[in-house]
């Protein structure tokens, strides 16, 4: 019972701090679900995000259902989804009458002045976390980089390496998405195919 309650409350919290759409929640999923409560590994989170992107419906709802199901079955999926959507239902229905005033309010504009760049920084941090489970084979050894900067030239002994077979996929997906050559779904399916293919070749 306590588990379900805490699942619900965690997702109410996510719903309340989700500024600018579902992707801004990624750093919070990593911080809370992966690192603090160990619901799942970063790898699994990445897999769930990918599946949420290629299934119909809002990506945030897909992901919340997936995470909730994983932790607490069907009831868990339902609680997490409801929790995620509850704050916006309350806030929107309270504020919808004065939305025009809201847009020009000094307070809101000042708030967004800080929120927007903070979201950028947090998504950039999530991007690094993603690189560490895709293009790189382990966490970036920052301590070792620091040693090199201090000119302590010691040979590196660790698991960190660049996965060369993933580099073309990374560059291709950046190019295709930036130039709008393919939809997100197309890029994801193509990358899955290429990833399996490269595994067969290398």
């Amino acid at each position: 019972m306590m588990l379900y309650l805490s699942m619900f409350l965690i997702f109410v919290y996510f719903g309340a701090i989700c500024f600018g759409g579902g992707s801004s929640l990624m750093p919070f999923y990593i911080d809370i679900l992966v690192e603090k409560y160990h619901w799942l590994t970063l790898h699994e989170l990445g897999d769930f995000v990918a599946i949420s992107q290629v299934t119909p419906g809002p990506i945030g709802v897909n992901l919340a259902t997936f995470l909730g199901y994983r932790q607490g079955g069907i009831a868990g999926g339902l609680l997490c989804t409801v929790g995620l959507l509850l704050p916006s239902w309350i806030l929107m229905t309270l504020g919808v009458k004065s939305l025009d005033k809201w847009e020009n309010s000094r307070f809101v504009r000042s708030l967004m002045y800080g929120v927007k760049p903070a979201t950028m920084g947090l998504i950039a941090a999530a991007f690094i976390a993603y690189l560490e489970i895709s293009l790189f084979s382990d966490r970036i050894p920052w301590d070792y980089c620091l040693e090199i900067l201090k000119l302590h030239l010691v040979p590196y002994e660790g698991a960190f390496a660049l996965r060369w077979d993933m580099l073309p996929i990374f560059l291709f997906s950046c190019w295709a998405l930036y130039r709008n050559k393919l939809s997100i779904m197309g890029v994801i399916f193509l990358s899955a195919g290429l990833g399996a293919l490269f595994h067969a070749v290398f």
Binding site: S52, P56, G57, P58, T65, M92, S134, L197
Partner: protein, 207 residues
């Protein structure tokens, strides 16, 4: 309130809200923005419940209220059509297909042989593509969000705080809010241009 709406019985309005949002969420892949466009197609162009362009004008505001884009859009349309209950019905409609589909997918997920090398390769490939997607999102958002050196500092502080110092992202976000209010309403009396929430996004989205 619109003419088309007041002439219809409330039960029918609620049913249409649920039916259309359920259909959109079941068939539109690609997340919030795609769903928003589909909702505009039906509720503005076909049913005329909302004024032309109203939903797109609301986009900038909807993005300042916490929540998912698709969820907030559904709440907005539902509220305009049938008040608080309408908002709840529309939200249920937009969330239910995801819930059902994903529950089935999640049930089957444990049967995927994750030890298989090809499947591992495929998932690493997908994660790589998602890293690319995040980078592209960041580059696209950059010009719309970061305009002066204080905002540069906020980006940098949040990045360093999470990656190197392992600070709590929630506290960083609250800190950034406080800084924004302190700076825009206290230190500099006049609001900088960059604090606007629309910032020409509407023009881009209209095209």
């Amino acid at each position: 309130m619109n003419n088309q709406l007041t002439s219809q019985p409330r039960g029918k309005v609620l049913w249409l809200l649920f039916y259309h949002f359920f259909k959109i969420a079941l068939f539109v892949v690609g997340g919030g923005y795609a769903i928003l466009l589909a909702a505009e197609e039906i509720f503005v162009k076909r049913l005329h419940w909302l004024k032309e362009g109203e939903l797109m004008d609301m986009l900038a505001i909807i993005q300042t209220i916490p929540g998912l884009l698709a969820g907030n859009a559904a709440i907005y349309v539902g509220y305009r059509a049938a008040g608080r209950i309408g908002a709840l019905v529309a939200l249920t409609g937009v969330a239910l297909p995801s819930f059902l589909v994903i529950t089935f997918v999640a049930m089957g997920f444990s049967y995927i042989p994750m030890n298989n090398g090809y499947i591992q390769g495929a998932f690493v490939g997908v994660r790589t593509a998602l890293a690319g997607l995040m980078l592209v999102t960041l580059i696209r958002m950059w010009n719309k969000t970061v305009h002066d050196w204080i905002q540069y500092l906020i980006v940098l502080a949040c990045f360093i705080g999470v990656v190197f110092l392992r600070w709590n992202p929630g506290l960083l976000l609250i800190g950034a809010m406080a800084l924004g209010i302190l700076y825009c309403m206290g230190i500099c009396d006049k609001l900088p241009e960059s604090a606007g929430i629309g910032d020409g996004e509407k023009e881009v989205n209209r095209k």
